[in-house]
């Protein structure tokens, strides 16, 4: 009873302070908004409109046809043509263009030989600036496009032996994958930082010396401190998912219960991490640095940026230890594949266990002492 009153007192106080801290309050809304815009619009791993040059020594109708087809693919945008390869290479070095299509003077003959199966010699050449692998691999995917589409079907054929059927994100749009993952990144950032800073601030500003001399218990202090942030975590999740649905047509999950449960588990796990940091950090700056220390692997290794399966095994071990990995995995499952929470039980167990253990350690490490 007394414990509940004291926990409530801390939570109310924390809410009040938070609502008066305009900048923090604005950040709670702005961080998800801005990140959503950045990842949804600006950061796009789908490569389009690569500025390119062409060196056409062939002057044939087929060559013109090929160029027009490539332009129509929208992956490249031919902004200039050059008289010689030398000139084109200079343009590439200067960065005027990032790719060059070279059609040699004997292009038509090579093309005919290739078409009739007489020769396997390449008919034309792409010269790309491979310093950005993403760009050059996009160009590489253009290798066979024009020949197939030019109506000049080759005799040895380009038919693929496999038919690919795309599930869950048939148009392969980036935001569909990014938006749910973004919930993980933003919650990691705000939840850890806010709790750790909120406790360290009390220490820095001298409130703690008074507080630890009252009957308040460490667990009451911790629970009271994190309560408001649970609410904030849900607000942020709601902002991201609803805007994701509005702007990028990211589907909303059918099973809201599973979404709420997984989100709650992740929020509490992140808040616990913040509490753990607060038992170490002496200043708010240190709390911030420790948050970044956890945030970076959470962005890079959790599967948000790069596919988990593509990572080397040791990196996967590290990833498994991060709550963000489990949440990225489960929220994508819930939002994109309509998975139910009990189907994701390994992640449920990890996140719940992490919270419990973290709480225990944080409470044990938090001493009502100054030495």
């Amino acid at each position: 009873m007394l414990a509940a009153i004291r926990t409530w007192a801390i939570a109310v106080k924390e809410f009040r302070q938070l609502s008066r801290d305009r900048i923090t309050f604005a950040m709670i809304v702005m961080i998800p908004l801005i990140q959503l815009m950045l990842f949804g619009y600006a950061i796009n791993t789908e490569v389009r409109h690569v500025p390119s040059g062409v060196v056409n020594l062939s002057h044939s109708a087929v060559a013109r046809h090929v160029i027009a087809d490539l332009q129509a693919s929208k992956t490249v945008n031919f902004i200039n043509s050059y008289d010689s390869v030398k000139q084109a290479e200079d343009a590439l070095r200067r960065g005027d263009v990032h790719a060059i299509l070279y059609l040699p003077s004997d292009f038509l003959r090579r093309f005919e030989e290739y078409r009739l199966g007489i020769s396997q010699r390449p008919v034309a050449q792409w010269i790309t600036d491979a310093s950005d692998p993403l760009l050059s691999s996009a160009i590489a995917s253009l290798r066979q496009v024009p020949l197939a589409k030019s109506g000049l079907q080759s005799s040895n054929g380009f038919a693929t032996p496999f038919r690919v059927v795309q599930f869950y994100n048939p148009e392969r749009r980036n935001p569909v994958n990014i938006v749910p993952g973004l919930v993980a990144v933003i919650l990691t950032m705000t939840m850890i930082l806010f709790t750790s800073a909120a406790i360290v601030r009390e220490r820095e500003q001298g409130n703690m010396e008074f507080l630890i001399n009252t009957p308040v218990q460490p667990i009451e202090l911790m629970l009271g401190k994190i309560t408001p942030y649970v609410v904030i975590g849900f607000i942020q999740t709601a902002i991201i998912l609803s805007l994701g649905a509005l702007l990028f047509a990211v589907p909303l999950p059918e099973n809201i219960g599973s979404l709420l449960l997984m989100t709650l588990l992740f929020i509490t796990a992140s808040l616990t991490l913040g509490l753990l940091i607060s038992t170490r950090a002496q200043t708010q700056l240190q709390a911030m640095q420790l948050t970044v220390f956890i945030l970076l692997p959470s962005i890079l290794l959790s599967g948000f940026m790069f596919p988990y399966d593509a990572m080397p095994v040791p990196a996967q071990w590290i990833a498994e230890a991060l709550p963000a990995t489990h949440f990225v995995r489960s929220i994508r499952a819930v939002v994109l594949r309509d998975a139910l929470w009990w189907e994701l039980w390994p992640d449920v167990v990890f996140l719940a266990g992490f919270t419990l253990l973290g709480m225990l350690v944080a409470t044990w490490r938090f001493q009502k002492r100054l030495d």
Partner: protein, 309 residues
């Protein structure tokens, strides 16, 4: 024994490079206003933290209200109040919000809370500041709020760490009125200060220096028993006189105060006034005066303090 509220013996606290409190013996009785007088860094705050169980002593024993510290510190929390040196309430909360928060922390709710807060606002002259943020209070108002927060739960024992450090004399007097009210109501108060006028109001004081206790007793008694004679010198060229006197072993201290020079001469010196006049040349008037608490402080601290002679 029931009347002893704080009992400490050989209390010592070492930090990596300094001994902040050194073999301190302490005995505070119920109802007393007990003062720690000492310069910056002498260990006042550290002593208070040891007595509240916030710091663990390196050596020595402490018993507060019958609880052995630091082991039983938790049981003590409900019975003591602590006003820290730095303002430790929330700047972004209003006066009532702060008080309500503290009341809840001590488990005071509902009508009882309402009543208690109204009473505190009235006692500490904060009624018309109730809705104001703590950050917008004046120094004196802020200290009154801090005191109100420290006594929300009617503690038997109150620790005040330099409570009036940034407060003008008028407000300081007012603040002390509140302390006497509390004392009359039976609260034992332990207060640290570096103001003489404040120390003089205590029933009993310890003079601390570099973690050592240099003197202890009621201010009156300390002034009477001062092992020095105090003289006020008036005349020309006092600055030179001062330089000259500081060479003498028997002179404990000299201080220019306005137009006069205050000189402390060790009582071991035979007939100090005659001796002093002999030392002086020229038109200088020597007059014996009653020792002040500052004289007691000066005589007991610094490189030439009496106990080391």
């Amino acid at each position: 024994m029931a009347d002893v509220v704080i009992q400490a013996s050989g209390l010592t606290r070492k930090f990596t490079d300094v001994t902040a409190v050194n073999a301190l013996d302490l005995r505070v009785e119920r109802g007393q206003i007990y003062g720690f007088l000492g310069p910056n860094g002498c260990g006042k705050s550290t002593t208070i933290r040891l007595l509240t169980g916030l710091l663990t002593p390196t050596e020595g024993e402490v018993e507060v209200l019958g609880y052995v510290l630091p082991k039983q510190a938790e049981a003590l929390r409900q019975k003591v109040g602590y006003m820290t040196q730095q303002f430790s309430l929330y700047q972004d909360l209003s006066v009532v919000e702060n008080l309500r928060f503290v009341a809840r922390i001590y488990g005071i709710t509902g009508a009882e809370q309402q009543q208690r807060i109204e009473q505190l606002l009235q006692q500490y002259h904060l009624e018309n500041k109730a809705e104001r943020r703590a950050s917008a209070l004046s120094g004196g108002q802020r200290q009154r709020l801090a005191l109100a927060a420290a006594v929300v739960h009617n503690p038997q024992l109150l620790f005040l760490d330099e409570p009036t450090a940034a407060v003008d004399p008028e407000n300081r007097r007012d603040f002390w009125e509140r302390l006497f009210d509390l004392s009359d109501a039976g609260t034992t108060i332990l207060v640290s200060t570096h103001y003489m006028d404040e120390a003089e109001r205590c029933h009993r004081i310890d003079i601390l220096e570099q973690g050592h206790k240099r003197a202890e007793g009621a201010p009156e008694q300390l002034m009477q028993e001062l092992p020095c004679e105090v003289f006020e010198l008036r005349g020309d060229g006092l600055r030179n006189v001062r330089k000259q006197l500081m060479q003498e072993q028997a002179v404990l201290s000299t201080a220019q105060i306005g137009q006069s020079l205050r000189v402390l001469v060790n009582k071991q010196q035979q007939q100090p006034q005659q001796w002093l006049e002999q030392q002086l040349s020229g038109e200088i008037d020597v007059q014996a005066v009653r020792p002040s608490l500052e004289d007691v402080f000066v005589a007991n601290t610094g490189t030439r303090h009496v106990s080391r002679d």
